[in-house]
Amino acid sequence: MRIPRGELRRSRVVDDAAAVLRAVLDEELTGYVVFEPQDALLLGETTRGVVTFEDGVPVLAYDTEREVGGRDGLEGFAVTGPTRAAVHAVDADALADAHEVEEFRVPPGEPARVLAGDERLAERTTDAAPAARREEGRDRSAVEAFLADADAIEEIRSEAREEARARASEWGLDDVLADDVGDSAAIEPGPDSR
């Protein structure tokens, strides 16, 4: 993938890709961010990926080491832990050609979702995207991929369970908590047990 070289705005190591994506969204960057997960570096591997942006909204993602783009590309550099993020600004016209490479495009909220696991930011990014691009966020395959990831869903659910219990104490609702809510992932369909 060819992206015109941009003007480096800043380069720093961050704990969370969400912070970078949020800042880029707020400043409505047109350009690209190079992500280099630091853990991989320690292991002697190079992992590096690029996400391009138009007015703060992600357009393309590309794993420069594996040479894979799009959502699969994103997953290549979605590594937890500190990441060096180098933010570059590029003239919008200069990026236009690169942005036409259909197979590297990602829905606006996808980098926040995949790189940072941040649904709220994904949603905010989608809301900030032009109308035509918001539709991409509703692409059915993203929903199906989300639902197919049973581990990720169990994580959402177990976090919500813990949060519900913690807040019940805060709100004095302790004594109405159900005793029998187990840790099982599956809910049996059919008659329920109240």
Partner: protein
């Protein structure tokens, strides 16, 4: 008999209020239905039900010194008993969420089905109470990742309080979205059944502008048909109003957030 359903979504914009009133009107064909706007912080049911100018609302019942009778806040509209909530921020702040329990218990004594239009949030006691008080929840989802994710969260909160899932309504479904595959996958995580897939419809906005529930404004619209289908699939259970009242009484310590 009475069964209390919280109509919940976790996320705004899924059409929860539209769904609550549509399910209410459809269920009112067979049952005595009472609809309560339990979204006390961001009430909007009154606009959907032509009750913008209601004198007494749920807020008055939740504020100690207002001294209003529950029946003063009940309006017979569209074949249902409707309890709207006011939109004043001051009233919301003065309201004691714990009193919702007594209001709901009193209303439960005299109806078949209670529908609680619940807040699209989980961050406060007043937002969570409808889900705590209900027998079961109906989760209103859009076929999007954020909506499914928030729906899962609200379901976990409900289950933590022993409130089961009656079913899921996929709402605002666009023509190019085939919800069947998504519903089948989602069924692994959501309890109950898929009640309906409701198509996105201009009639919903028009109904809101006119201050009428969808089923009153456009009874023949495909979205209205889908909501009737959802109501028909909802297996309303016999409950004892006194049990509900008792449970509520023992449930919630009446305290401010």
């Amino acid at each position: 008999m009475v069964e209390a359903f919280a109509v919940a979504s976790g996320k705004g914009g899924t059409g929860k209020t539209t769904s609550t009133l549509a399910l209410g009107m459809a269920l009112a064909e067979d049952y005595d239905v009472t609809v309560i706007d339990a979204d006390t912080g961001m009430a909007n049911l009154l606009f959907h039900a032509g009750l913008d100018d209601a004198d007494v609302t749920l807020h008055d019942l939740l504020i100690d010194e207002r001294d209003a009778a529950v029946s003063d806040a009940v309006y017979e509209r569209f074949g249902m008993s409707v309890v709207p909530c006011g939109t004043s921020l001051a009233a919301f702040e003065a309201a004691d969420p714990g009193r919702l329990r007594d209001v709901v218990a009193e209303l439960a004594a005299d109806t078949d089905v209670l529908l609680l239009d619940s807040p699209a949030a989980l961050g406060s006691k007043s937002a969570v109470l409808p889900v705590v008080l209900a027998d079961r929840i109906v989760v209103v989802l859009q076929p999007t990742v954020p909506s499914l994710s928030d729906g899962l969260k609200v379901q976990e909160y409900a289950h933590s309080y022993g409130t089961d899932t009656a079913g899921v309504v996929f709402n605002r479904v666009r023509p190019d979205e085939n919800v069947d595959a998504i519903a089948e996958q989602a069924g692994r995580y959501f309890g109950g059944q898929t009640l309906a897939s409701v198509p996105e419809s201009d009639a919903v906005r028009a109904a809101r502008r006119e201050g009428k529930p969808l089923l009153a404004h456009a009874p023949d619209d495909p979205a209205a048909d889908a909501f009737r289908e959802a109501a028909a699939r909802l297996d309303v259970r016999d409950g004892d109003g006194r049990d509900v009242a008792e449970r509520f009484k023992s449930a919630v310590a009446p305290e401010r957030i």
